[in-house]
Amino acid sequence: MSIKLKALLKSPWVFHFSTGSCNNCDIEILDCLTPRFDIERFGMLLAGSIKHADVLLVTGSCNRMSADRLRKLYDQVPKPCLVVAIGECSMSRGMFIHSYNCPVPLDHIVPVDVYIPGCPPKPEAIIAGVVKLIEKVRSS
């Protein structure tokens, strides 16, 4: 594994994008930054600008309006970058699967590296998912 990827795994800065979720997943993501979980121990920081991000956290069922924006955002992330789908909606569209407004699931729009199920997933589940992602990249 190159030094580039090694350093990336040591300091993944995450950008948090909600494609129209009910905000529960977003609250759980912010919980990971609280003193109880403190993901800065692993070098993770919330990036305000997409140009600073290494990991794209996507929540919510992509609707027609946000799918374009998500694609544009994905094109703007400096590569190498990883995409994490958080919550039931972003995996299978959840209860919105028959909605006229959610034509395709998230992984038809951008390539997804890891899926974290739950409605919403607990902060422990999010951290476990990120650990799995790191192991996946390390073994590849």
């Binding site: 190159s2 030094i3 580039k4 990827l5 350093a7 990336l8 040591k10 300091s11 003193p35 403190d38 800065e40 121990r41 070098g43 305000g48 600008s49 140009k51 600073h52 290494d54 703007q76 400096p78 590569k79 190498p80």
Partner: protein, 307 residues
């Protein structure tokens, strides 16, 4: 040849290592204040190495030359100013006439490079941040220069940092005088503003204009800016130590005392940043041109009276 050594070994390597370490101290103290554990020791280094390996993106319609050269200009000025400070501190007789002025000039160039990069990137948030940075520069520069003038007057009007240091070695640190204490008090908020830390992080306000001038930078440009900021976290307290606290002595146990001075200054700055909310730009301007400048003028007058 010896100058090249100073520039590479002291100006770049030593300053970068100490700056990365101090930035870890800053983040660790922040974490402890918030009852968190905080990042590991090598975290700032990982961040910089990671950013070096990322893709460089230049926004469409940006001024390419200014956008690419801005981080280089800021970074190289920090390297030069830290080499100057190290050579003065290691060998006080080596200084030249007026290096005090050169240091003050070079310390403004990082802010100017940030302004340049912000305006070049053709992003409204970056332009807003750059214009705020400009106003903040105008605000804090006057009290900063007045406070830095106090040790010059105390040491008999010498504009050489080396002579200021040798004078302090004989007569005790500047901060043992009344005027020196007041000037150091003035220096602390200006250090805060120069480093763009929280009460005065108006240009970079992360929750408001997402890191301002840095918003469009990625990859190597962002890495250079981050490294520049980390090095400034060492260089500016180092300059304050040379002016007010007798510099750092590299003989035996004294090195610990010197390191303590810098770490305490950085920890103080960190605690201030963690216990204060952000102010608006007009409040910052009023604060620096009002009470802080008055205090700085009082310190200069007291220094003239020999106190």
């Amino acid at each position: 040849m010896i100058y090249l050594l100073y520039l590479l070994v002291y100006g770049f390597l030593a300053t970068a290592a100490l700056g990365l370490f101090l930035s870890w101290v800053d983040r660790k103290v922040t974490a402890r204040v918030q009852y968190r554990v905080g990042p590991p020791l090598l975290q700032p280094l990982y961040d910089v190495v990671k950013l070096m390996g990322k893709e460089n993106l230049i926004p469409a319609g940006a001024s390419r030359l200014a956008f690419v050269s801005a981080p280089l200009i800021g970074f190289s000025s920090v390297v030069v100013v830290s080499a100057l400070l190290w050579s003065n501190n290691l060998n006080p007789s080596q200084s030249f006439m007026g290096d005090w002025i050169v240091v003050i000039y070079l310390l403004t160039i990082p802010s100017i490079s940030i302004i340049m990069g912000g305006f070049a990137s053709k992003n409204p948030l970056a332009s807003l941040g750059a214009s705020r940075e400009m106003k903040l520069l105008i605000a804090y520069e006057l009290p900063f220069i007045l406070a830095a003038l106090v040790p010059v007057i105390n040491s008999g009007g010498s504009l050489r940092l080396g002579e200021i240091l040798t004078w302090q070695a004989e007569a005790g640190a500047t901060a043992t005088n009344l005027s020196g204490i007041i000037a150091l008090l003035v220096m602390i908020p200006t250090i805060q503003a120069k480093l763009a830390l929280v009460p005065f992080d108006i240009p970079e306000a992360e929750t408001e204009i997402v890191e301002g001038p840095m918003v469009e930078y990625s990859g190597t440009g962002l890495a250079l800016f981050k490294l520049m900021k980390n090095m400034l976290l060492f260089v500016i307290p180092f300059f304050a130590t040379i002016l007010f606290l007798d510099g750092i002595t590299f003989q035996g146990i004294h090195i610990l005392w010197g390191a303590l001075k810098i770490v305490v200054l950085v920890a103080l700055v960190t605690v201030i940043r963690n216990t204060n909310p952000r102010v608006r730009i007009d409040q910052a301007l009023r604060f620096f041109w009002g009470p802080v400048t008055l205090l700085a003028v009082a310190a200069v007058v007291l220094a003239y009276l020999g106190l």
